[in-house]
Symmetry: C2
């Protein structure tokens, strides 16, 4: 039985793979993934290996600490404390305390309860095209089919911002229209007796298709939530740790002050680590209201992996790299858009960018998928995103170079030509 | 600022430590933990480092794979498939499929939804002194204070079995009385319109104080649940992987057939790994009803860590060791109980055992805590468990030897004498 069949037997047939021809990497190094035949692929997709696949300094930190000690946080250990201090130094607004966990899902699961503990309410507002994780609680925010027992009554989804289909009809009026959606949700939650505990958003609206938003976009919506007694949760799992180039965190770019920040995927370059960052008063309210302990969370190996990742980001100036290389990529993609009408909107920030494909005024969902598969055949890995899955999503390890951009754009150019010729 | 104060600043003052004098290990090796002064402590408590602290084969597996490749399961990789096959080979009853996650909490969070998907119901039954994890969903099973929004109406807690205070009053009638409690819960859940999705139990009733139960204890209760359309979830996070000596899994010891098994803590010797094991039909029902993907779950490094741990358990015959050394420990502890009337009940299986402390016919909770702290001062680490926290809990790495037992019992003997003399 081949590996694909064995995989179906063990993991179930619903565990999807990317690409028509599933990709089976056996080795990773920097921005490169290699298959069993030694063919190398440019990884333009994976944000988890934030400082590059198998970065030797992160590997060494994990190996050394795993050989020394691995216990939980009911013992006292320098590692988790030193990392917490280091991480907190990257935040303003009294966001100085941390709970370290094992996944972004666990982090958001806590964040929702923190907001409950502080507000005394249970209602939650998110966008209508979001994803915040996979626990029973958090997955209620992105339920796409009716869960057993019905949709959660304490959750309201508001229309998410979009470049080509802005909320309220115009880009200029989008912030106000978004806030109006939040106001409606607040009124509904209050009428249903839930009240408002939190607005939870990715401050880059990554799953929504990373629309281009001006600084201050969130201000009106946030004011509404605060007036209703709710907290603001910034899910920085995707934009965080400098990926967006201009800032360390998405909420800094949009210029708002969250009460709670959640972190995940790139935090330890692939080691299962995530965290919640908040103020002292929020942490204490949570710890008073809920008993919480996490066996693996904050263990010395996870802390060492996260600290090594943080140090590499600083030592190799990866935020600056994301800024410079991301700007170059946007310029090159814009030139490509001049050539291919299909690329209707090029957008992004730092090393999180892409292009939305439109054909005859309609989302080119099928063509987008074909382009992704054609690029995979030509050694470049990326994927799709957005409400209609018609945008090419580029979100590579942050060691991505201008040379890598040139390869990406070149292969995209040929793939688009090939796919359009085949139509 | 010293480490304890810095820890409070970053993690909050509610993050508890064991012992009056918090323990700060800096190095681990086998059954030993070392503090900064080089003093060594016999670890009689930590079940996570299942094959011994910092086992070189597990460390090497992690280091080698972290240096080679770490991606998620939307790519195809031999590691997670091979581990799933290996793990499934340890189960009967068609328990042949796996979802790998990052914590026992994530595993139980999935298990509850699996039961919902199959049964179409939402009601859950657990015991009244249990713990199944820390997500918002799972922590409803062990809520000790009223959560924001009130106790979950779909959860019912039934009286848990106990050696000194058996359900229904007698040890002989305990299985029937336990089943009667489950019947009441079923009737309540049905009357409330939730129906029954699952009975979730630790098949060793570890947090309940690991009472001595005969094979077949669960049969009547399980029959009631199945008649009501519910599934049986065996939370093997604590008893699993051979700790109990007589069997690989707690449900084998009690002789019942679960629909879903959850695993965690010891699975990869401290690397954040956990899993859900179930039948194909249950997995498919879950995947049909809920969209689920876990970024870190089943990554090649986690799979390698779990595989190495599994191999060490087999290569070093650690299940057999747990059986032999555990039997020796029970014998020695029983002898100690002949000397100290305080040790009212000695019980356990394999390397999960302990003694319940009773004084003047009452749970000796304070004395128990003093004994634990006195033992810590004398280089032996353990903790307390049970409804009244009056039992000494011993649950060491499974490389624990008879010589280690002798040290444990000797230090316990002196600690009890010292504490009683101080009273």
């Amino acid at each position: 039985m081949n590996l694909i069949e064995r995989r179906k037997q063990v993991l179930g047939r619903h565990v999807t793979t990317f690409y028509d021809d599933p990709f089976a990497p056996v080795r990773g190094d920097g921005v490169w993934l290699y298959d069993a035949d030694g063919k190398r692929y440019l990884d333009c997709y994976n944000n988890v290996p934030h400082v590059g696949h198998c970065h030797p300094k992160v590997v060494k930190a994990i190996a050394d600490q795993a050989a020394t000690l691995n216990v939980h946080t009911r013992y006292v250990h320098e590692g988790v404390v030193a990392y917490g201090e280091k991480l907190a130094s990257k935040f303003k607004h009294d966001l100085s305390t941390m709970i370290m966990v094992n996944s972004g899902s666990e982090a958001n699961d806590i964040a929702l309860r923190m907001a409950q503990a502080v507000s005394g309410n249970t209602g939650v507002i998110g966008t209508d095209n979001t994803y915040h994780g996979n626990t029973a609680s958090v997955s209620q925010l992105n339920a796409t089919k009716v869960p057993v027992g019905g949709y959660a009554d304490h959750v309201r989804q508001v229309p998410s911002p979009d470049n080509l289909h802005p909320v309220g009809g115009t880009r200029a009026g989008q912030a106000q229209a978004f806030a109006a959606g939040v106001e409606v949700a607040i009124a509904e939650l209050q009428a249903a007796g839930h009240g408002v505990s939190a607005l939870i958003i990715c401050p880059y609206f990554a799953n929504e298709g990373f629309p281009t938003l001006e600084r201050g976009f969130m201000d009106q919506a946030i004011a509404c939530v605060r007036r209703a007694g709710g907290l603001i949760i910034a899910d920085e799992v995707q934009p965080g740790f400098g990926r967006i180039g201009s800032h360390w965190w998405g909420h800094e770019k949009l210029g708002f002050v969250p009460d709670i920040v959640t972190l995940g995927k790139p935090m330890a370059n692939g080691h299962p680590v995530a965290a919640v960052i908040t103020r002292h008063d929020v942490l204490e309210a949570f710890q008073d209201a809920f008993k919480y302990f996490n066996t693996f969370g904050g263990n010395p190996v996870s802390a060492a992996a996260a600290m090594a990742t943080m140090n590499v980001i600083e030592d190799e100036s990866l935020v600056e790299n994301a800024c410079v290389v991301g700007a170059y990529a946007l310029k090159e993609l814009s030139s490509l858009a001049d050539k291919h009408e299909l690329l209707a909107d090029v957008r992004g920030s730092g090393l999180f960018f892409g292009a939305e494909l439109v054909c005859d005024g309609k989302p080119a969902t099928d063509i987008c998928l074909k382009v992704v598969n054609e690029m995979r055949r030509n050694g470049v890995l990326l994927s799709t995103v957005g409400r209609f899955e018609n945008a090419l999503k580029v979100r590579p390890p942050c060691v991505f170079s201008k040379e890598n951009v040139d390869q990406l754009v070149d292969v995209m150019d040929h793939a688009i030509a090939q796919v359009l010729a085949d139509e």
